[in-house]
Every structure is written in C-alpha cells, then in structure tokens.
C-alpha cells in the first residue's frame, strides 16, 4: 500500500482522506477518532491545495514506548508561512469560514509540529495515539 498521496487537485483530498481512514481503521481507531483523523488530513491537504498549489500527504503507523499511533506528514514547497504564531492563533483562519485551520488540526491530534520557511515550503507532522 502506497502511504503517500500527492495533492494536486481537490479530488486528491478525498484520496488522502480515504488513505487515512483505511490506516486508522486497520490500527483500531474508533469511529470518532477516525473522523478526527480524516478531518485533520482534510484540513492539511486542503491547505496544500489552496495555498501551496501542490505537495503531498503521507500517512503511516508510528510507534513510541508502549504506544501505537498514526502519523500524518504534510509537505509542500509552496510559499511557506510568514507568521506561524498568527496562523496558530484561534480565530485567525476560522473567522472567514475557511475551516478549522491549523489550530483546529492541532486540537484534533495529540502531537503537532510545524516547520515553515517563507519561500521554501511547509512541513507539518501530526500524531494521533491509540487510546
């Protein structure tokens, strides 16, 4: 199974969601967590589609001491984010009806890291642990 989906057009978002759901189901996540994972994937893929033009979302099983989880890696070579603090602020992206935004994604998962440099692109890693 290919664990990455290239995001070029809007339908790729659906493919990324599907991949995420399959992996989540296989790992034994419940329905609510499955929905959280797919929503997070959706948001990340949508950001790539809307702001970076193209990139990819990879979904893999991840393990740490005593726990298993799912990691979402979203990567693009788009314009990057100038003010990370601002986009991570509640109410910044949602006010225009743009969706949950990155703070929303952060809330849906257990671990969230973001690296972005203007002109170079953005790399986001999000992990949801199995409870």
């Amino acid at each position: 199974m290919d664990s990455c989906v290239k995001i070029i057009n809007e339908w790729d978002i659906v493919a990324a969601r599907q991949l995420g759901r399959n992996v989540a189901k296989d790992l034994g996540f419940g329905t609510v967590d499955q929905a959280r994972i797919t929503t997070a994937i959706s948001e990340l893929a949508r950001n790539i589609y809307l702001y970076a033009g193209q990139g990819q979302v990879c979904i893999e099983k991840t393990e740490a001491v005593g726990k298993t989880g799912l990691i979402i890696i979203s990567e693009d070579q788009g314009p990057g984010i100038n003010d990370l603090r601002k986009v991570m602020e509640d109410g910044f992206s949602t006010s225009g009806g743009l969706g949950a935004g990155l703070p929303g994604v952060k809330r849906l998962v257990d671990e969230f890291t973001i690296e972005s440099n203007p002109g170079e692109g953005t790399l986001i890693k999000a992990i949801k642990w199995l409870r």
């Binding site: 609510v32 929905a35 929503t39 509640d90 949602t94 949950a100 929303g104 809330r107």
Partner: protein, 336 residues
C-alpha cells in the same frame, strides 16, 4: 467512576426508555445529560457516536439502513465540534484579558489618584466614572504654598486602553513641570508641546486648567478645546458658561492660550466637566444643556461632593445605566 466511563450506559438507558413510550421524563433526562456532557467537555461528534453505538446495541436487527447515515451526521458535526472547542479556548483567553485589564485599571486608579485639597474657603467635590474599565478622563488638583488651588480636567478623545495610556503621559508631564506657581495658560502651552511631540497625530486631548486664588477669590482659567464649564451665581441664581476658547492639545506646537478670570463670591459654584457629562445620550439624542442645568440646579444647595454624586446618579439613570463616555464632574463651591 467518572462521567466519561458511564455516559454510554446512561445515554443508552435514556434512549431505551424514550423509544419505548416517548415520555417527557426521558427528554428531561436528555437535557440533564447534555448539561453534564458539556461540563465534561464531550464534543458533539462524540455524542453522535454514542447515539449510534447505543442504537446499534438496542436495535441490532433493523439498523442496517439507518446506521450509515450517522457517519454523515458525525462528519458534519466534526466542524461544529471544532468550532465549539475553539470557542471554549477563546473564552479562556477572553477571561485572561479581562483580568489583565482589571489589573491595569487598578494601576491606573493608583497612578492617577489625586487628593482633593483641603482649604477653608472652598468645598470641593469630584466624581469620575469610566465608561469601560479604563478611563480616558483625567483630573488633578494641586495646592501651592500660597494657598492657590489648581485643577486640571482633561479628556482624551477616544476611550479605553489607548486613551488610558495617553493619559498616563499627561500625568507625568504635569508632574514634571518645574516647581512653583504656574498660570493656567502656561501649563497648557507647556503640555501642548509635550503632546505635540509625543502623541500620535490622530489622538487629541482637550484640557481645562483653572487656578483658584484663595486670597482674591478669583478663578483664572484657560482651555484647550475642552468642554466649557459652568458658573453658578449665587446672588442671581443664574448659570453662565465659563467661556474659554483654545485649540486642542497636540495640534500645533506654537499654540498660545488665552487666560480668563472670574470673580467668585460666597455661594458661587464652579462646575467643570468632561464631554461624558454634556454629551450624555439618551434614546432621543443628546440631553439639552437646560436639562443638565436643571439637574444641577436641583442639587446646588448641597455639599459639593453630594452635588457631583447626585447629578451623576440622575444622568446614569437617564442613560439606562449605560455610560457611553467617561464621565467626570468637578465642583468648587466657595463657602466663605
């Protein structure tokens, strides 16, 4: 056992009872359940999942056609769940901001605290109430060694925190005026230079500065675009405006201020105010000067502080207890 551990069972019981005979009690229990689940921060999508699970357990045989529909519902509620959580976190932030502002407001009160001078010939009263937590009005009393009582009243155009910050500056520039007696026009001219140099050009400050000479009982005053005060003549029982013309502080650094004077006899009253008093708005619009004077007249025989308090109460009532602007009223009454 916490709510999280038993909520599935609880929900199932309520659902089962309601499906049996659609009783109101089950609906009431649902309401209670909802309150509890909000308390435990259970998100909307989780509720749908609980519902689906409970339904499956209760009616395993007929669920095929209905069950998948909950996946759509759950997905749709996902966004609401996120909005809900965002709302909760914004609420926390708002509370933090609020308490920060409260601290700032207390600091402001300490910073701007002024003592009403104690002089034999004058009865002085003052009231200052901010429209929001922080005030853009400022008043200050100074008493010099020769017994003259000076009073400054200023209004920063604008409200809230920006105005409050601006006002701290005024306070410090006044404190740093060289020792000794200053004529009102000199004070305004020197403050005008400070404001012109330090304040954003979109911010304006009006100020009235008066000095009551307790030896010759004359009130000397100058105004920088401030709301005119009133003078009550005890003998004629008439009110007149304390006319003074002058440009706002901070507009032009070369502004000169004219000084006016007024002889004060026993029983006469000087009333100084911010525009929160004269521009007191009701549903019908601004109150008329005559209405305002009417209120003042009604209480003019009282002690200065009482007059200030009573007039404030009247205007507060008139505005349905919602001040739209900072309110400051100062009263100087010659008693002997």
């Amino acid at each position: 056992m916490g709510f999280r551990d038993v909520m599935h069972e609880k929900y199932k019981e309520i659902l089962e009872s309601y499906m049996e005979d659609q009783n109101e009690q089950a609906l009431y229990l649902s309401q209670k359940f909802s309150r509890k689940s909000i308390e435990y921060k259970i998100s909307p999508e989780e509720i749908i999942s609980i519902h689906k699970t409970a339904l499956m357990e209760l009616e395993a045989e007929r669920s095929d056609s209905v069950m998948p529909s909950f996946d759509i519902l759950l997905e749709v509620m996902m966004g609401y769940g996120l909005a809900y959580r965002e709302h909760q976190s914004l609420r926390t932030i708002q509370q933090e901001l609020k308490s920060e502002i409260e601290v700032a407001a207390n600091m402001q009160q300490t910073l701007l605290g002024t003592q009403i001078p104690d002089v034999d010939c004058l009865d002085i009263g003052a009231i200052s109430v901010p429209a929001r937590q922080m005030s853009g009005d400022y008043y200050h009393f100074v008493q010099d060694e020769q017994g003259a009582v000076s009073v400054a009243i200023a209004d920063i155009i604008g409200k809230g925190i920006p105005a409050a910050l601006c006002m701290s500056m005024i306070k410090y520039s006044m404190d740093s005026l060289p020792e000794g007696r200053h004529e009102p026009y000199q004070v305004l001219e020197s403050l005008n230079r400070v404001v012109e140099q330090n304040v954003d050009p979109t911010m304006f400050i009006t100020m009235f500065y008066g000095m009551y000479n307790t030896i010759n009982h004359t009130f000397y005053y100058s105004s920088a675009g401030h709301e005119p005060g009133f003078f009550y003549n005890h003998e004629t029982k008439e009110f007149e405006e304390l006319y003074a013309k002058g440009l706002l502080l901070g507009v032009d650094k070369k502004t000169k201020y004219r000084q006016f004077e007024k002889r004060v006899d026993v029983g006469d009253v000087i009333l100084l105010m911010s525009d929160g008093v004269t521009e007191c708005r009701t549903e019908e619009g601004f109150i008329e000067v005559d209405t305002l004077i009417g209120y003042i007249e009604k209480y003019i025989h009282l002690e200065a502080q009482e007059i200030a308090n009573k007039v404030y109460k009247e205007l507060e009532y008139l505005q349905d207890f919602q001040l739209r602007d900072d309110f400051t009223l100062i009263i100087l009454k010659r008693i002997k």
